[in-house]
Symmetry: C2
Amino acid sequence: MTNATTGAARIIRTVQKYGGSSVATADHIKRVAGRVAERRRKGEQMVVVVSAMGDTTDDLIELANAINPTPNQREMDVLLHTGEIVSSTLLSMALDALGVDAVSLTGAQAGIKTDAVYGRARIADIDATRMERELAAGRVVIVAGFQGISEDFDVTTLGRGGSDTTAVALAAALKATTCEIYTDVPGIFTADPRVVPEARPLRDIGYEEMLELASTGARVMHARAVEVGAIYDVPILVASTFDASAPGTLIHREMTMEQGNKVRGIAHQDKIAKVTVRGVPDRPGIAAQIFEPLAEAHVSVDTIVQNASVERLTDLTFTVAPGDLPRALEVINALMPKIGAREVVSAPDLGTVSIVGTGMASSPGYAARMFRTLFDHNVNIDMISTSDIRITCVVGSAQVADAVRALHAAFELERG
Amino acid sequence: MTNATTGAARIIRTVQKYGGSSVATADHIKRVAGRVAERRRKGEQMVVVVSAMGDTTDDLIELANAINPTPNQREMDVLLHTGEIVSSTLLSMALDALGVDAVSLTGAQAGIKTDAVYGRARIADIDATRMERELAAGRVVIVAGFQGISEDFDVTTLGRGGSDTTAVALAAALKATTCEIYTDVPGIFTADPRVVPEARPLRDIGYEEMLELASTGARVMHARAVEVGAIYDVPILVASTFDASAPGTLIHREMTMEQGNKVRGIAHQDKIAKVTVRGVPDRPGIAAQIFEPLAEAHVSVDTIVQNASVERLTDLTFTVAPGDLPRALEVINALMPKIGAREVVSAPDLGTVSIVGTGMASSPGYAARMFRTLFDHNVNIDMISTSDIRITCVVGSAQVADAVRALHAAFELERG
């Protein structure tokens, strides 16, 4: 009663995620434990999601392939989910050694319920009862990332990089103050620093911009994690595990409309291939006739461009990963008699360069400046595709790096 | 209706267990899959329990100790249970590669419910619903051994060798026709073949005899597995994984009373230590006063012998593992003022030799022949202890091998 006027201090609840390289060895795990312990001792409620140690997942895949070159995906999920369980228990033991009360939970124990699409399950619901109980008991809760449990009580995994999604989904379910994704880079860069030495980490970025960057090359984070963050409005800090000097990048719903430079980053893909089907009769359903068989052949199609129809004939162009090109051509050539197109041509040595930033659709000047810059640097544009927050040019593979550097300079991204 | 008179053929349902050395590599796992597939194709319903591959468990323990020299046992259980999950999924994949439908289940998925005594949990109940469903669907069910789940949905392990217990308990719950334990020896021997070259595998043995053999050195099987087998009357075949020529040993409730030679095997322990407390005042509660502090100090006491009291003073002797001797002496010496005994003496270099067989208690001739044999071979008997089906002599460590060989010959165990 006497305390009623003082009020309870708001408890900070943090979800952290550490990737495989951050927990690669016993020493790495001890260092992570030290970081978690420090935050816990400051009074924060801590939930920590871990990936499998170092190359564990690859080693398990290799073992499986030695036994069955086409392993059943349900069994693969059960096999692979053990990697994250191992690192979660080891981190719990490391915290215990520091005198910090901790408990490891498997995906199932953490209440992470998914659909039954093995290998790339999606989280359907999180029952946080157990986690809440452990947090209330003062424990650090360590959750094995990348995994969940289906309605039938079968183990599922969320796909490569799925631990990011685990962390963001837990942050949403637990109404965490922030979600911190620790990795081996100091944040999201304005461009790939291996290509552009002047590239700098962004202090913050919007969810959609991050998705565009991720989908066109900057593979720092699992795209689904960003989607979940956007849906539940979870601020996500991406930062370096062991470089405390770098503040990292905050992915969040940006509150301030930027008035000036709206290009936030340059993304690129080094190698893509292009397929053009020329003289396609422009009738309803033709696109489905082409892309359904490609999907059935597991050819992942990236950009699709269809030109305006001339005399009821159109050209249809799409890009694929270079490794998928032979299969794509096989599928399309087999379809040719059925669709009645004139010819199929392909180009294997292409790449993409994209400028990403909110509000570009409403400011046509960005596209113009991009095309001008590429022209000034003798980069020929093969294809263009745009979204609300991205303009992508397909260019020759050999010119990608030059194009990225030129655009980084033209949009003055080296400035903070 | 028309089939009513033909009757359904009885479906044979088999539980098999393969130990760590039987699934040590991808090739081993493929061989096991081949064996399981053969039985499945003959129409048997197959449930297969697997241990962790080779040295996996030891490797995981080493990893844990590198992080925390005294790891929390709950976390240790979560860590270690992954080893059996890995081998179970790999065996499932190997069966799939042979065209045999299979599914791996963790202990929790198999419905193995235990108490919450981490590291040495006991099975409380098995909910066979999922297993029955998978068997009905024609699948081989592969169960990760050694593990279960507590009421609070926490992972537990059954202790070293616990996969044997998993197999026998599953056989009981599933009303299996037999339980087959595959290992790297061809069965239960009349004596350790490294000591007695003439030792031969027994064709069958009773549960209690097996327990006595196991508790005095023949560590082929987890003792609790035999106990569960005895309670639920599960016939257990112990056999070699890859030596098809050896029929193995059937552990079962023996139906025929053997009239002749009732000694079934000679067990031994190479190294034990003995502690004698001399001149103990013979008052009620004195044994508890001595053995409770030993238990608290985690000293595992084996045989206990108390001599008849002379003038209200008695001698109390017990045996311990040699590694526990210093701790045992420390405990006893600290107790001396309290118990008022005269002195403590110890002997470190002892061993045991036992004859095991049902009905020995009612036939005193066995003990006489044992003592005579040892005397004839100049083996001095230091201590004697007996049960209904076992007579054990403590002898000098250096004489154990001679004693085993002499007794094996005296009881004509080399004959089938």
